[in-house]
């Protein structure tokens, strides 16, 4: 027998679909130009020079993790785990963007484009700024909603518990 829907359960569905859909889109768009994405990771200057060989690996793996986590979230399969992965990525993105903005403020000549959605760069301009942080915070809130009240309606997780 299916578990009864929690009071906030209906909020989970739009969060799952929008957040998961955005991550699938972000992953697919990054795959269109992996070279540009690798260069964008490099420009963040987060990875030390002696570990630069990791950047191409990250450039290949990250879009696929986004696609899988996003697709699982939309389908409601392993909803909480998908939301956890996506939320962890969002926290990392926010920290990385904030570190770039702080370093620019301190006078470091960094020139970083987000490449978060590949060439689409939606809804923020390509150049890093507070817009990307706010966008990620909104998505992080959606991730938190899914983590708290998953799986919500129309989820494979829910069907499998019947």
């Amino acid at each position: 027998m299916a578990k009864p829907m929690r009071p906030m359960g209906w909020l989970v569905l739009p969060c799952r679909v929008v957040l998961g859909g955005l991550f699938v889109l972000a992953g697919v768009m990054k795959m269109q130009d992996l070279q540009a994405f690798a260069e964008a990771i490099d420009a963040f200057k987060i990875i030390p020079e002696r570990a630069e060989f990791l950047i191409p690996f990250a450039a290949f793996a990250m879009p696929w993790i986004e696609v899988f986590a996003g697709a699982f979230l939309v389908l409601g399969l392993w909803s909480r785990a998908s939301a956890l992965v996506i939320s962890a990525m969002l926290v990392a993105f926010i920290a990385m963007i904030a570190s770039v903005l702080i370093r620019i403020e301190m006078g470091q000549p960094l020139s970083v484009t987000c490449t978060c959605f590949g060439k689409l760069e939606w809804p923020c301009p390509p150049k890093l700024g507070m817009c990307q942080i706010w966008r990620d915070v909104v998505m992080l809130v959606m991730g938190a909603v899914v983590l708290k009240w998953a799986p919500g309606p129309l989820a494979i997780d829910r069907e499998s518990t019947k």
């Binding site: 795959m31 992996l34 070279q35 690798a38 260069e39 490099d42 420009a43 200057k45 630069e52 950047i55 191409p56 690996f57 450039a59 290949f60 793996a61 990250m62 879009p63 696929w64 993790i65 986004e66 696609v67 899988f68 986590a69 699982f72 392993w78 909480r80 785990a81 998908s82 956890l84 992965v85 962890a88 470091q108 000549p109 960094l110 020139s111 484009t113 390509p126 150049k127």
Partner: protein, 211 residues
């Protein structure tokens, strides 16, 4: 329950890493952060026998010379010639992609194109005399096209930005290479080192490509 959540999250990440690994193997074009080495610098006019900055050096005479008749003629001892300083181009041969301050100065004197990859306001405040303004954001714009129209695809192009951790010149050289301009070189110390050395600078709007 929490451990199941973490196992599933780890499984998802592993799935993505495996898929990314397969993608890397099947993809024909590798992803690389390395820049291609540019073609060697052309020798300047009048110095075909040696690298830039190298003067012809006569070997010091030692002891005596023999004339055509077989007689030994005494010669005045000659002070050994001090070897010339290492010409900048030798350094360029060792690291063809990066340009030192000394070599940048030499290339500037020879009239090679300099590109300033910094933001427009920094260019307007001060730039290397004669440098054009082009960066990764303006590369594909009509203004960027104007600057690209002036460039020769094989000739050396010196690209600089703010020095230090500035990546703008590296990124611009990469874009130039992708567009077929293979002479791009990075003046890593950038404008601050040039200005500090007291070399020629200018200020004001870019002559072309300024939007």
């Amino acid at each position: 329950m929490a451990s199941l959540l973490l196992y599933r999250a780890a499984a998802l990440i592993t799935l993505g890493v495996i898929a990314g690994g397969i993608h890397a193997v099947v993809r024909e074009k590798p992803v690389s952060l390395e820049l291609m080495a540019p073609a060697p610098l052309p020798k300047p006019k009048g110095a075909e026998a040696g690298p830039v900055g190298a003067e012809p050096v006569e070997k010091p005479a030692t002891g005596s010379t023999t004339s055509g008749t077989g007689q030994v003629a005494p010669v005045t001892p000659v002070t050994p010639v001090t070897p010339p300083p290492v010409p900048p181009v030798d350094a360029a041969a060792a690291d063809p992609l990066n340009v030192t301050l000394a070599l940048a100065k030499e290339l500037h004197e020879q009239g090679y194109v300099f590109l300033d990859a910094r933001p427009l306001n920094e260019y307007e405040q001060g730039h290397i005399a004669g440098a054009f303004w082009l960066n990764t954001e303006t590369f594909a714009t009509p203004g960027g096209g104007e600057v690209l129209g002036l460039l020769d695809r094989e000739m050396p192009i010196v690209v600089y930005c703010q020095g230090g951790m500035c990546d703008a010149s590296k990124n611009l050289v990469r874009m130039l290479q992708q567009a077929g301009y293979m002479g791009g070189r990075i003046f890593h110390d950038g404008y601050p080192a040039w200005e500090k050395a007291g070399y020629p600078t200018a200020a004001g709007k870019p002559p072309i490509g300024g939007g």
